[in-house]
Amino acid sequence: MFYPKNLAGLLPAAACVVMLLLPGLSQAQERTVKIAGWGAKSGPLRSFGVNSEAVLKAAVESINAAGGVSLGDGTRAMMEMEYYDSACNADQAISVARKVASQTEALIGIGPTCSGAAAAMYGIFQKNVDNSGDTGLQFPILTDTAIRPGLAKKSQWTFRNVPNEINMYDELFAWLRENHPDVKTIYGGTETNQAHSKLTFAKVIVQMATKHGFEWVGGGIDGLTGKIGSGSDQVLETTKASNWLMEDTNFSVQARAFKKSRADMLIVSSHPFTTCGMLKEMKRQRVRPKVLVGLTSSSSQETLLGCAAEAEGMYIPTGFAPVTSVAKRVAKAATANGGFADLHSAAAWENAWIIKQVVEETGIMAKPSTLAADRRKMRDGLEALDNVDGLLGSVGRVRDEGESIKPFVFVQATGGQWVVVHDPRN
């Protein structure tokens, strides 16, 4: 048997070997799946970013508490999240996207808040993968909030997990048709300097209402059919809808137009601040429609904080309500983290779990040396997804468009709460 002559002489060598191995060991131990989130944490839409961050943080904590993520070589890694402020601003969203893609080891980004910012930001990504002539960012995005229909197809690196408003309003008006047979005419307005409110109103809501037999007061609108986008320019004309701006303070003229229309159903397509301003003015002028319909984004806590009494009875389709055990848990966790789970922010939870699923399915290594390959695997993995588990049930994926088909419910403001009045899943 071999015995070293001088054991003490081997100690420095052993120490050197251990020293050499240590970085490798620590690297294996410290490998993390890094993700980046960004949204409006400053400016008038700050609540959206705060809510998304709160839910995303809760999701990451829940994944880590369940043992983390399994990497390609079988190592378990924790998930790490950093959240950035991109305001509701295209320049800032682009700047954050560039920074995260080039200066961090994040595998994927989740954001931004506003549709206008998302539309501009998606433009800096490589349009088609493997196109060497396109030097756009090669970094996957899985947006949680920006909801305007049809944005994700701008790049093959951009994906969204946001509700499909076309399906939502289609189903809502079908349900209203069935449950309110006495309602025949519609009228409404929107905040015209907010892309999501305006376009959803002019291209989706009015068309879906028309599709289900509701008629715009005063003999309809030229070119308006049940087809998405039909007659959208005419819908926004002064002689048709009565609109306002996102920062308006006086709604007397608009509320009067609503009252004068004598429509059975009124549509207020705007975000919480002006929804509340408008609803309060409608109450003052005693405008009492048979049915009141709101924009998806107003199915939030902000609306209840601002005008719960005036919103009483308003119907809104939403992609989130605490109707399942996991959704209830998410709502609680979001509140504990200083935010609210709602239509927009709840998607951040699903996104974190989708990322975990894709990392495990595609064998992502989460090493600095494999970053580019990992990002590509993440993109390909997202592209290949068919269905994922969501908070309200299975979320379908539209492959070539990078979009989701999410389950949704209809809520109604009742007694200061959003109460689920119909669940199309059942």
Partner: protein, 298 residues
């Protein structure tokens, strides 16, 4: 013929609503003009401080269920205090002749105050109490909102109180003296800095009332109110004449009414074009505003 009368009634109603709401613009305009009159400088923070004051008032309402009148009083006091801080931070230690530095300091303070509100409230709209919110007066085919009438009455009362202070008290005399010739005022023993600070507090007290009235008339308080009120206040100040209180009052009512009429006739997308055109017309053809002292355009 029937259509003509319906249109006439609608227009009348638009003018009435606009005039009543314009009284809040007038109060903001008076604040701008008061400070400009005293120091010949623009305080861009003014509307933000007014809204910040309204938020402090809302705290009293939410946590102590205070009566709306107390909410308005607290809003006014808080805004006065913020006005003093703004004076100390943005004007007191900046050389008198460096107008641009003071202007930029107040622009920075405007965004700072706005962002502080946003971070504290997460920018959520919050319900704000109104006095006589449910009251309305029917005058034949047109009607008047009770809360807006109160806003109008409060604006008139605040303006009357301000005019009394300016023209019937030693403080007003000092303010006018500093405004006309600050060196001579100093030689007469008037403490210019103290007078300016007091002017900021008085303007702030008025601004707090305007902020609370605006929030009460919308029914909701949000940081989104800051910028439009700042813009409206500036328009009113220019149209009324820099430094003219009666001008600010008339311009406030005029802008409120014009805004509503343009909104009714041309829709929201064109409304602000016409209001800004009004500003442009005054800047070109009557740069001294309705009642302002004459300005040498060259």
């Amino acid at each position: 013929m029937e259509d003509f009368w319906i249109e006439a009634i609608e227009l009348t109603q638009s003018v009435i609503d606009g005039l009543l709401f314009g009284s809040t613009y007038a109060l903001i305009g008076i604040g701008f003009t008061l400070i400009f009159g005293a120091m010949h400088k623009l305080n861009m923070t003014y509307a933000a401080a007014s809204i910040a004051g309204a938020y402090v008032g809302l705290v009293v309402f939410v946590f102590f269920s205070a009566h709306p009148l107390l909410v308005f009083a607290v809003s006014s006091l808080a805004s006065g205090l913020i006005g003093l801080l703004v004076y100390l931070i943005c004007f007191r230690f900046i050389p008198v002749n460096n107008h641009l530095a003071a202007l930029m300091a107040t622009v920075g303070a405007l965004f700072f105050i706005d962002e502080v509100i946003i971070h504290i409230t997460n920018a959520s709209p919050l319900a704000f109490p109104a006095l006589f919110g449910a009251a309305s007066f029917d005058l034949g085919a047109v009607w008047i909102r009770g809360d807006l009438l109160f806003v109008f009455a409060a604006s008139v009362a605040s303006t009357a109180a301000l005019l009394y202070v300016l023209y019937r008290t030693r403080l007003g005399l000092a303010t006018r003296a500093v405004s006309q010739q600050n060196v001579a005022a100093q030689l007469c023993g008037i403490d210019v800095h103290r007078t300016n600070a007091t002017t900021f507090v008085v303007a702030g007290l008025l601004g707090g009332i305007a902020g609370a009235m605006t929030a009460a008339s919308v029914g909701v308080l949000s940081p989104l109110l800051t910028l439009p009120i700042t813009v409206k206040g500036l328009i009113v100040t220019v149209v009324g004449g820099l430094g003219s209180i009666p001008g600010a009052i008339i311009a406030g009512l005029m802008v409120g009414a014009a805004e509503n009429v343009f909104l009714y006739l041309r829709g929201v997308n064109e409304r602000d074009i016409y209001v800004l055109l009004l500003l442009f017309v005054f800047l070109v053809f009557r740069p001294n505003g309705i009642f302002g002292k004459s300005i040498n355009r060259d």
